[in-house]
């Protein structure tokens, strides 16, 4: 090979580092950091993050809150917390959100309920995401018999009727926090697995995977180093969207008496107990329900915002003209 005549070759413009940058590396912003920058301009995302942060604080500081209020979560205030007929007492200065059917402080019980909800929500989501990603990537990348087996297995799991199987499992094993987490994780991972498998199937055909193979990289290395980073967007989005689903799952289980064992307060069991009193004690139904609603809403809205931030091509619907202007300006 000989060099082309010089006049044909236009040199690329020399890179002139700015004064402050000489001598150190120029660091590119990773896709994740770009998404973070977009997320910070999203008011809904900020609001839901603040809500979730407060929830976490409340859950962690539950004993402190109970101490400040002066009511324990299990203490029955038979004299002050119940009417003469034995009915719950409404919200007042003494009981901020009223009491339940046994004269316990509803506010303190809801605060303690946040612990169970978040623990089960986050715990089962982490297990489900891990299992879903590992199995989804393996199925999608390895293909062939492995894929057929794993994909069919996911189909089988997805075809289980959730409640029936959950009732069966819990009645055999007995209800507990661990069982709740595992049951919810078992019914969530297959959805994640399917999505991850689909993404992996498309990533596997990219040229950079071929490049890695031609360099001699093994399957495991390719899956971890080349496939996994490209899955960060669906993983983050599905984590934020799975947490509220898991919280609702847990409430459903507790509502049916299959979740965490009483007297430990959970939002689901509070709701279940309240149903007999909804005609006389509106606060008993309203506040646990509201806690559940706010939590799931915050996680879901955050999930939507995260998805928008990670994928700038998605259509954004603006609530207000001002919002659109701000978005354009940012």
């Amino acid at each position: 090979m000989s060099a082309l005549p010089v006049e044909l070759v236009r040199a690329e413009p020399p890179e002139t580092p700015r004064a402050g940058e000489i001598g150190r590396d120029i660091e590119g912003r990773s896709p994740l950091r770009l998404a973070w920058a977009r997320l910070r301009h999203d008011r809904v995302a900020i609001a839901s993050t603040v809500t979730i942060a407060m929830l976490v604080l409340v859950a962690v500081g539950a004993p402190l809150i109970a101490h400040l209020v002066g009511h324990g979560p299990y203490t029955q205030y038979r004299l002050t917390g119940l009417t003469r007929d034995g009915l719950p007492v409404g919200p007042s200065g003494r009981f901020l959100l009223g009491t339940d059917n046994l004269g316990r402080d509803l506010f303190v019980r809801i605060v303690y309920g946040a612990r169970v909800s978040l623990l089960v929500g986050v715990g089962s989501t982490l297990i489900a995401i891990t299992a879903g990603v590992v199995i989804g990537v393996a199925a999608g990348y390895l293909g062939g018999v492995v894929d057929t087996f794993l994909a069919r297995f996911m189909d089988v799991v997805l075809s289980f009727p959730f409640l029936l199987v959950a009732i069966a499992i819990v009645s055999v094993v007995g209800p507990s926090l661990t069982v709740s987490v595992l049951v919810i994780a078992f019914f969530s991972w297959a959805t994640v697995g399917r999505i991850i498998r689909g993404q992996t199937l498309s990533i596997r055909e990219r040229e950079y995977i071929e490049a890695a193979r031609s360099l001699g990289a093994g399957d495991l290395r390719i899956m971890v180093v080349d496939v996994l980073p490209n899955l960060e967007a669906p993983i983050i989005v599905y984590t934020t969207l799975l947490i509220p689903t898991a919280i609702v799952f847990e409430s459903t289980l507790s509502f049916l008496g299959l979740g965490v064992v009483p007297p430990t307060p959970t939002w689901g069991s509070l709701l279940a107990d309240s149903l007999q009193y909804y005609q006389v004690a509106w606060w008993y139904v309203l506040f646990p329900g509201l806690a559940l609603l706010i939590t799931t809403l915050a996680f879901n809205l955050l999930g939507d915002s995260v998805r928008d931030a990670l994928d700038p091509r998605t259509e954004r619907v603006f609530a207000t003209r001002a919002g659109r202007r701000r978005w354009r300006a940012s």
């Binding site: 660091e27 031609s214 360099l215 001699g216 490209n230």
Partner: protein, 359 residues
């Protein structure tokens, strides 16, 4: 083709790659084979650049992926440096992967968008466990400098580079382990013309410096003529002609080569106007069901009944040197007027076959 054996870096013998076509819900029944590469014999000598040309779909890229064992061969052997690598397992292949690298066509698709450039170029070192930590960083920076990138951009992402710069990243990655052979699969066809020249010059400089051997696949004939020492022409999964670059362009022997060369654009409009272009009749036959005998016979202006039956071998014909084999029973003589014999010269050619009959 009788180069002494220690002169040959890569020898392909009867390389065949068929892709089964599967139909049906349960992916079991085979409904035929795509004959992507169908018996290719080729040698690449140490230190040379062998150009490989042919139209889209003739099997160039499949052949490249058979050589680098990204595809498993259906049959045939690939001798690299005297060792048959066509049947080695993935584990056994690893030492040979160090000696044989690939540059890909698409500078956007061949770099992982979620990884920093430094880590992409460092990949070969990481995979083969060569340099670690600071040493690897140092080597990667040297490589970046070597291919004309700013080493300060070590921590950038591929999306922050232009097409030409990205192809330089691909070159740096291929160069990292100091391979003997680099298979370039259309390395410049996705780039602007001015950038093409830069990358080609870069490849030439690196070849001089490191004594590299290139298998250079392209469909741009002027690029191939410029970079290649020898050129091989492929048609429908077979090599139809091999010759030293200048000889192939000045004195093509296979009718397909003649037609292919006549289709290349010429920069000078006067020359382009005077030149007669050979338009081949019909389309490229389907590789699922290739023609019998010589694959080119249904479209060949010189075809005779023998061509339908007997597949010509790739050997040097009468009046040719050993270095210029042609797979044709009736190779083109300089006196032949193929354009007249064949089909319609360009100016009278029409796009619609129906109109031709009316004239």
């Amino acid at each position: 083709m009788s180069a002494p054996d220690d002169d040959v870096l890569l020898r392909l013998d009867g390389v065949v790659k068929h892709f089964p076509i599967r139909t049906g819900v349960f992916a079991g029944r085979s409904a035929g084979q795509v004959h992507a590469v169908d018996g290719v014999d080729l040698t690449v000598r140490r230190g040379e650049t062998l150009g490989l040309v042919g139209e889209t779909g003739c099997g160039k890229s499949t052949l490249a992926r058979c050589i680098t064992r990204l595809h498993d061969l259906t049959s045939g052997t690939v001798l690299f440096d005297g060792v048959d690598i066509s049947r080695l397992s993935r584990r056994q292949l690893i030492p040979y992967r160090r000696e044989m690298q690939m540059i890909f066509q698409d500078p956007f698709g061949s770099l992982n968008p979620h990884r920093r450039v430094g880590s992409i170029i460092g990949d070969p070192f990481a995979i083969h466990g060569i340099a670690d930590g600071l040493l690897r960083r140092q080597r990667v920076r040297e490589l970046m400098e070597k291919v004309g990138l700013n080493p300060e951009h070590y921590n950038r992402f591929p999306a922050e580079f232009s097409g030409g710069q990205r192809q330089r990243i691909g070159v740096a990655r291929a160069l990292a382990l100091r391979p003997k052979l680099i298979v370039c699969d259309e390395p410049v066809s996705a780039l602007d013309v001015s950038i093409q020249a830069q990358i080609i010059n870069l490849l030439a400089e690196l070849q001089d410096e490191f004594g590299l051997t290139y298998l250079f696949i392209a469909h741009d004939l002027s690029v191939v003529r410029h970079v290649s020492d020898r050129v091989a022409v492929m048609y429908l999964g077979k090599v139809v002609e091999v010759a030293p670059a200048e000889e192939l362009f000045e004195r093509p022997r296979h009718p397909y080569t003649v037609a292919l060369l006549s289709a290349a654009s010429v920069a000078d409009p006067d020359v382009a106007d005077r030149r007669e272009r050979i338009l081949l009749a019909g389309d490229v036959p389907s590789p699922v069901n290739p023609p019998s005998g010589c694959r080119f016979h249904p479209r060949c202006p010189k075809a005779q009944s023998r061509c339908e039956v007997e597949a010509p071998e790739l050997v040097a014909r009468v009046a040719d040197t050993d270095d210029h084999p042609t797979a044709c029973h009736f190779p083109v003589e300089p006196t032949d007027d193929l354009a007249r014999a064949a089909v319609v010269p360009m100016r009278r050619a029409t796009l619609f076959p129906g109109e031709q009959q009316r004239q």
